[in-house]
Symmetry: C3
Amino acid sequence: MIKFVLDGKILKQFVNCCSVISNEGLLRISSDKWRSIISDPANVSMIDITLNNDAFEVYEFEKEGEEEEEKKIGLDLNKLADLLKMAEKEDSVELVIENNKMNLQIKEGEGRELRYSVLLLDAEVIKKENDPPQLDPPAQVIITGSEFNRACKAAEKVSKYISLGVEEDSEGGNLFYMEAKGDADSVRLEINRDYLIGMKAETVRSLFSLEYLDQINKAYSKNSEITLDLGNDYPLRLTFEIADGFGECVYYLAPRIENYE
Amino acid sequence: MIKFVLDGKILKQFVNCCSVISNEGLLRISSDKWRSIISDPANVSMIDITLNNDAFEVYEFEKEGEEEEEKKIGLDLNKLADLLKMAEKEDSVELVIENNKMNLQIKEGEGRELRYSVLLLDAEVIKKENDPPQLDPPAQVIITGSEFNRACKAAEKVSKYISLGVEEDSEGGNLFYMEAKGDADSVRLEINRDYLIGMKAETVRSLFSLEYLDQINKAYSKNSEITLDLGNDYPLRLTFEIADGFGECVYYLAPRIENYE
Amino acid sequence: MIKFVLDGKILKQFVNCCSVISNEGLLRISSDKWRSIISDPANVSMIDITLNNDAFEVYEFEKEGEEEEEKKIGLDLNKLADLLKMAEKEDSVELVIENNKMNLQIKEGEGRELRYSVLLLDAEVIKKENDPPQLDPPAQVIITGSEFNRACKAAEKVSKYISLGVEEDSEGGNLFYMEAKGDADSVRLEINRDYLIGMKAETVRSLFSLEYLDQINKAYSKNSEITLDLGNDYPLRLTFEIADGFGECVYYLAPRIENYE
């Protein structure tokens, strides 16, 4: 018997983070948390998202065998995200997993319930999980979600790619920049160290695809704090909290090699 | 001389109810009310809508001959609904019917008027009215418009059809349910008798097309009370008030015969 | 060195007025103002828009030669309007023109800047400016932007053209009317002299294309005062203030010759 009860808002956030990366994915359920590691079809980006059992009102997970530490179930993420649109933010959602079905019960207040029964996907036929990369990026910048999102939107006006970097400013301090160059036009956003939430400075620069960043930009809320770990022609690690800190979404994006002119 | 003055809001509601069913329809004007009986092109659904003369500020209808009890005029419902978008809710609308024209005058406050002149359709070439069915459904449920609409939206996620029914709950009381089954997934909304606005209980179940329900769902306001009269594999009768009770819209929908597995 | 600093809101309004007429245009910069004269590709409509140096926080324009009174630069208006969507209303924008580049710097508050660098178009290859017509229209009407816009929207329901006119009302006073006639239907908005912001009365009537009026209707704000100068089968001159009165947009539209039945 596997049963969970949690806020509709938290479940929506978890599922949305997963569904921006892929249409389907594995959910690993263990005694203390949910975890999903999902790569996009081209293996350019990946998320590693966890939700602790503290985020749940009810968390009932009993191992079926002594040897089994966790259960993997296959989810149709797009369908699940679509169904959860029916849950209001304040609704509580009960999830029961039985045989090859997930029963979702959205409690809309006393005396009325909306119940979905959804077929689970066969965990064996879902795209294999990749191992999250072991990274040691030299620079770190913490900014608000709205600011990062806005810079990406500005960059899209002139290019498909954006450089994220840290460099010295004219006064010997450090600044974080996001830069995009088109054929004739360019855009650059600079933020001084003093106006960032946090910074670990080292001169770095890497180029990333805006198409991929756009996907993860849909997953966090605008007032989230976004931690960017950066290196030179090095993968991006972008981290934000979910469920008021009871969970975390770590996003990885491979760099593009820039042709320095 | 036929002349009416009424709130833009009321006229819009009347026309919208008609226009969700068909592009054109007959309006029967008699000394005490307006009435339209309109079927969709496939004769699966029908509305029978009335608006009493109490809903009007001015209601001038003089019979042209002694033998004539009512006048039938043909309306291009889509065009009329489109023109009425120009009327603000608080605007008063004057309607004068002369020869084969309807003159609409939207009074937007002192000193300014918006006037439309619209050709009436030939009442003889409009689809004949069907007789509203004589029904005697055993069960009745009264719920809010927003709740009925939400259940239909939830059902659309998994199927094109929805079952509406009443059955006993586990404690010997009664509950109303709306249920949809897809190939692999299903959705079910249950509301306990105590949480309905009203109920006449009898175990019933009928299946309806969500495509048709979607049309009438656009016609009522979300906080209307919706009365559903139900039977076993029996037509649905869905009733709601218009014009603050000075009119009524009765909607009929043929059932689909369910293949019980 | 050419450098300007102004409110994002004012720059957006200037660029929007230009971009509804054409995708590209010339900006004439002189020591006391900006001015653009832009015709649509078919030469049916034209704007003549000016923005005084009083509207700017910084206005640095130094003539390159003694003989040169003004500088003409070519702008990709659509791209510029698109980039300026990134500026919030309260943001201040710095514009520096150097060689064949325009550098835009949107200051989003202390410590952060968004910079665009945009290639200027070759002023020689941009569509030649036409001379604004010298008009002496006998009638004038001043109404709110929202009212003019609403009448155009109402007229579109029945026709592609709208007549604007002034005539005597039944009591010997004057009224302004906007009228459209379709094959079977017609619409007419009348506003009494007393309910207009202003009027210079003379019996006139001209017919205009709603497709063109729709474009300029996107350029002014709904609570602007719109001055319409009208004659008989005569061009329309439509004028409104921009930048709180520090600039003006004058729009000209050629009449269509009406076939009086």
